[in-house]
Subunit: 116 residues, 2 copies
DNA sequence: CAATTGGTTCAAGAACTATTGAACATTGCG
DNA sequence: CGCAATGTTCAATAGTTCTTGAACCAATTG
């Protein structure tokens, strides 16, 4: 439980899984929030998303985001720090993440995303 | 059954629904094939996708693609002609469809898409 | 009119998804 | 050590999704 969970390699990242991950409003909000944070520190920990859902439900969504290659988890003490796998995604699917993030930003109200 | 089915307006197109639609391999293949066809005629009918799945299953996926605003169906005699709602999607989510199509093209083998 | 073509509808089933809460594990701190 | 904080795991559940086949409908053709 204290070890770094498994992540897919860059090459293992699959388009349908990524799109499916991004199609869930909670996960989209997580990704959006991570992207916003990038300007500042590039990492956030689980607790920073407590506004989006309950803890165990977040764990579930984090796992999906990790499994599809969208984000990476780093274990540090009692915290898990997350960051977007921007470079890997850009390498596999150029322009995709940005297009999704821009689209999300456009609909921030409708999607109830917090615009930092 | 012979009437034109309902379509969402441009403004009603929702990001999560679009992403969810594109996350299914069969639907992604349909969209990809429609995009390929655009160079030629911009429309295809149901039968052109018979290689992807059975007829009734295709009807199901067509409905999803219609309901989320990705494509439009036009009834003509005994045929239904489909086309991508490129302009509406570009207006709502600039660059998104192209990014997805490019990503799909990159993984055409993996996704078993037929590259015209 | 009868048969064919192109596609839809409906019902059923298997599989998967998201959500919840309770119990648990690990780390850090007084 | 004892306790709080941070997350995870597990089981249960409600709901959704995809797939299939059989029956059906509407338009065209002979």
């Amino acid at each position: 439980m204290s070890r770094t969970p498994p992540h897919p390699t860059r090459e293992q990242i699959e388009l349908p899984l990524v799109l499916d991950c991004l199609s869930d409003p909670i996960r989209l909000a997580i990704v959006y929030q991570l992207a916003q944070q990038e300007r500042v520190s590039s990492e956030l920990c689980c607790g920073d998303f407590n506004g989006l859902s309950g803890k165990s439900n977040l764990t579930y969504h984090f796992a999906k985001l990790r499994d599809c290659g969208l984000m990476q988890t780093r274990v540090a003490g009692t915290n898990r720090f997350m960051r977007l796998r921007r470079e890997d995604l850009e390498a596999r699917f150029p322009g995709l993440l940005d297009a999704v993030l821009k689209s999300a930003a456009k609909d921030a109200d409708r999607l109830q995303l917090l615009s930092t």
